[in-house]
Symmetry: none
Subunit: 227 residues, 4 copies
């Protein structure tokens, strides 16, 4: 940020570009890596998509590997930040909270280039164990704790049945991640007509699992009580 008091909201083209470059390069790299895979993407393709020359790419990232790591880190750290804010500001039942947390994550991620990061990680992580470690520590564990915490408190409150928390987290979350993967693999090739529309699926999925999760009384509300 320039020290001058005149906040230069949109600096002149050259300046603006220079500032925006890193992000544009990361965006281009994410797009190409997800579409063609890391090894099959040429640095020149990334550069071309970002509208710069091959050499320029190397001014910002010293190697292809570092570019990959930067791409993943940048997207994930954004996610982490956004996810952390979610839980506190909610009121209502734990079921509502769960629904909201998952739905918001979905809204934020699925129709967003960020969804591609999952494919990147699944596909490339074995070549970069440091990314595995980072991803696990910064995303999987905090995320599990977030969802798991809601479940735990719901159980304690008698709202949920006393399920295995970790397993339930996976039942809830893995299909969502899987849909992100499908979007960027099969979904990009075949007209995956027979699959449910992702938005619809989410609603049904959470409702279905909540059906198995809620303590019995919840069902009574639906007027299905017998005799």
């Amino acid at each position: 940020m320039p020290s001058s008091p005149h906040i230069q909201a949109t600096p002149h083209t050259r300046q603006r570009r220079k500032q925006a470059r890193p992000q544009e390069l990361l965006d281009a790299a994410l797009h190409m890596f997800v579409e063609r895979g890391f090894a099959s993407t040429r640095m020149e393709e990334v550069a071309a998509l970002a509208g710069v020359s091959k050499g320029t790419l190397y001014l910002y990232y010293p190697s292809k590997e570092e570019l990959l790591k930067a791409v993943i880190r940048e997207r994930l750290s954004n996610e982490i930040e956004a996810g952390a804010l979610e839980v506190e500001r909610h009121v209502g039942t734990h079921a509502e909270l769960l629904r909201d947390v998952l739905a918001n994550w979905w809204l934020r991620v699925y129709d967003n280039p960020a969804s591609g990061v999952f494919k990147l990680i699944i596909a490339e992580v074995r070549g970069f164990p440091e990314i595995a470690e980072y991803y696990f520590r910064e995303v999987v564990e905090p995320g599990s704790k977030l969802i798991g915490g809601v479940l735990q408190r719901g159980i304690a409150a008698g709202e949920f049945r006393p399920v295995n928390v970790d397993a339930t987290v996976q039942t809830l979350v893995l299909p969502m991640v899987m849909l992100c993967l499908l979007k960027h693999s099969l979904g990009a090739c075949a007209p995956v007509t027979s699959l449910v529309e992702p938005g619809d699926f989410m609603n049904h999925h959470v409702a279905l699992v909540l059906g198995g999760l809620l303590a019995a009384p919840a069902k009574v509300a639906k007027g299905k009580s017998k005799p």
Copy 2:
């Protein structure tokens, strides 16, 4: 074929190898492609793992691409065959049938190189749309119909609630596929300690979803009076 009772099960070295080669090569290729990715695997590595020279590989598969396709086709067609036999031979409630079908699939696939095929498909399919089409037509659709059929009949029998069948199939199946992916990506890097053990997860997962799936009466036994 010799009519003598001494079945010459193992013809002499050269012959025996010739027969066994294709499978050995496919196994080696699957292993390497899953571990390192298609593009990053060198043909020489595949050959070395199979214990032959680079040239020999080309006696059996005319290119790296054809090797990939052969790997995927062979594993999938095996799966398809095995899967098709599953449903008929079961008796019991639809819930039991569902549990059995999923559990058997799991036993057959998870602790087996076949589980790697999912990673291959997710990671590489965009470069080979024909594989996408094949996978969709021969695996996704038949598989969905198999599980979906059980659900449908369970609903018709009043055993299951009238859920969205396709969405429920995904809630049931996607986490299983996702665990296969994780096994061959994150799971192969970090000691994924905080994740539930896959066998345990399966039991809990199916039970949980069945909980949301079964018509109310089943739950009545657990019925608690509402405060």
Copy 3:
């Protein structure tokens, strides 16, 4: 271009090379292809002879085949251009014209890398039918028309006997082409001592054929009474 009188004929190193490269590469390729044959020449050898690395070659020509085609096209189109200018600017008898056209062609071609193109074409054309077609359309036919035209006009003027024009063209031209071939094959191996020196041969060859070509009167001077 600078208006200063100091014409910067040779821009600085990088630039200058960039401009000169294609020709240098074509020269090197012609040399190697003629010396070792197309299939036996390694791209690296061409590059080395041109003083660049293997990769650089591919910046200018996308494949070995395209390099071959470019080599042939470049040399031939130069020849064609030069040949077209030949006929108009001559005066004198048709015999003199014929002698001059052939002698000039010979001077231009024989002691020149261009002579190697004939060997390239004879040796490689079956693998590249498009080159055959190009060579025929752009070189053989126009060349035949050029020489044939002179003959035709000489015949019409009563200077030449009424010979078969096409056949005579071949009697005149084929030995010249053949000498080019020999220079780059046998001539490059054995000290072809017993062959006539090519310059001498040309003079004698044209004189000899003209001897058979000219209408009788020219010979009368030598006329000897029949016994």
Copy 4:
């Protein structure tokens, strides 16, 4: 030749093949080498064309190079033998002798696989200087002497003008060799329509050169004597 008195004109199949093999292999090799070039021909193609397996080829010729040399030597030695018989048995004028020698050579060679050997030599000889030396010593020199001798004697007899013998040999012979080359290169690709038919050409070619060669009186016979 078997010492047994029963001349076994056509030994039984197996035997016959075994005896005929070397020639069949050489024929196949010549065909392929001429059509595709030495370097681009695969040993397996030669074997296939001869109807044997790759391994068998190596039972007869220890390497590809030796096969090439055998191909060339065999064809050339046949030619040499045939050519040597030509001159003695002729009577008539030297012009007639010349015409006959060239015409017979032409009949024996042009419509015969042997014509391909010239292409082989032009194309490949630089890689095999020994072949050059052999070809020069056994073919070029004897052949030149043969034709040159006829010319010399014709000159001595006053039938021919006192031309440069070596140069005239080339004017006579090179177009013939060149037509053999064209047959196997351009002629095999493009429909070489504008070229004279080779048989016609030969007649005209020899007549034309003889026209320049014969001492004047010969022309008188054609009734062109000027008053």
